[in-house]
Symmetry: C2
Subunit: 239 residues, 2 copies
DNA sequence: GAAGGACGTTGATCTAACGCAAGTGTTTTT
DNA sequence: AAAAACACTTGCGTTAGATCAACGTCCTTC
């Protein structure tokens, strides 16, 4: 299911980070070649190793990007939602997608063909700057992800994930897990069983998880856990 | 130690991937604001959390980029050598370096101020395309790194590392480890002790390591090890 | 409201990798 | 040439997290 963008929609899309800083003309130029695509939960958006001929922006829903080995193991490389850009890296390599993209909820994505992007950049170089900023953000995010994997325990990564969801500076808060636990586990580089056990450990830090709702009784306590040294966490009597 | 680029040098620098596709004028424009910097082994090139006001290209030597937690743990995010660009992501975030850069051998790096890059892109938008390609490559590399961490054992990652160093399609080959083992370990997300043990395991796959020299007796055998499923490797009687 | 299935938890067991400490070998310094 | 500094290895104990399998719980569908 794929439709072009009508000009009345362009205004609404201006809030998307990638398009925000562009002039109205540049925005219209870029969107002229874009199509809106509705995808159902579980539907693939692009396939690893396919020719990379487009990049995407999430308009509605959640999308996961993951790499699968020939042997069936998979590694989640990113999970994106409203306003976020994904697979833009592929747009400049002139090669194939290094990962696959799949809708994890019913979603709507904006699909921008690489060929059209090139044309648009030629027409207005400011588009290139916006793209670079977007690429840099993903680069930064991946750097953080790698650091997390190497220097944090599972429970710490879960705590960090919860803290990112909340935006409370301190005190207590309730929040809704944005997607199912199997995906959260993947996102954090662990198995669902381990996530479940990590939640158990976090109970002693005041985290209560029921269904897709998490209650943090003390945001600050959780934050100190995340900032603790890996070794200290491991030897602590807490968990 | 920091000097500007004399025009007789510009020609020589044309082989650098980032500069390769640029016109002579664009190349000269970009290099006009660049400085050459000599750094000794162990010297810092930029510091995590500092204002990101420049990015770099390695002219000579090896440079590591790593993230350190407040508690002393560190995660190597990349190791770069001759012709490779690093910290370009920071140049577009308008913020701080997410990691630190350090020379691991005596090195020479080209330092390009962010302010000058912006000016140069305004003068010639093609520079932006070159930067994007460079950013994309690093993005791709980090994606692979994450996948490796999640789906490969230590020994597999070491094998992969060795295969990347060799460029033999098959048969046997001898190669020189490009930097010390502690850094190789960091690069592969493990501790030096674990690297040592991984080398032990690889002996049964025909890999002999003496000092900084590695001899692979059967490249293909090693490659099948890398491509094996994690589970299979773990349960194998081999090592 | 019973049946079936997806999703999540829990338990038991196993192992890759870590931490520490002691050892060996190699390189640099004096 | 001896000593000191460094780089790497090895042994041993510990553990975070994976695997496999069973079980519970919600949520749909007929």
């Amino acid at each position: 299911m794929s439709t072009t963008i009508v000009s009345s929609e362009v205004e609404k899309l201006a809030e998307i980070p990638l398009l925000k800083r562009l002039s109205t003309e540049a925005r219209e130029q870029l969107l002229r070649g874009a199509t809106k695509k509705s995808v159902s939960r579980g539907e693939m958006i692009f396939f690893q190793d396919d020719k990379a001929d487009a990049f995407f922006i999430v308009l509605e829903g959640w999308v996961k990007v993951f790499r699968a080995t020939s042997s069936g193991d998979e590694a989640v490389v990113g999970v994106f939602t409203r306003g976020q850009t994904f697979a833009e890296g592929a747009a400049f390599t002139n090669s194939n997608y290094p990962a696959s993209g799949e809708a994890v909820t019913d979603s709507v994505v904006l699909c921008i063909p690489v060929a059209h992007l090139a044309k648009s950049i030629a027409a207005d170089p400011n588009i290139a700057l916006a793209m670079m900023s977007s690429l840099s953000m993903h680069l930064h995010q991946l750097v953080l992800q790698i650091e997390g994997l190497k220097t944090h325990t599972g429970a710490q990564r879960v705590a960090e994930f919860l803290l990112n969801l909340s935006s409370e500076p301190a005190g207590s808060c309730t929040l809704v897990l944005p997607y199912d636990k199997a995906l959260i586990a993947g996102r954090l580089g662990m198995k669902p069983e381990s996530l479940s056990r990590a939640f158990q450990k976090l109970k002693s830090y005041g985290v209560e998880v029921k269904q897709n709702r998490a209650i943090i009784s003390n945001v600050q306590a959780l934050r100190t856990l995340v900032e603790q040294e890996r070794t200290v966490v491991m030897h602590s009597s807490h968990g």
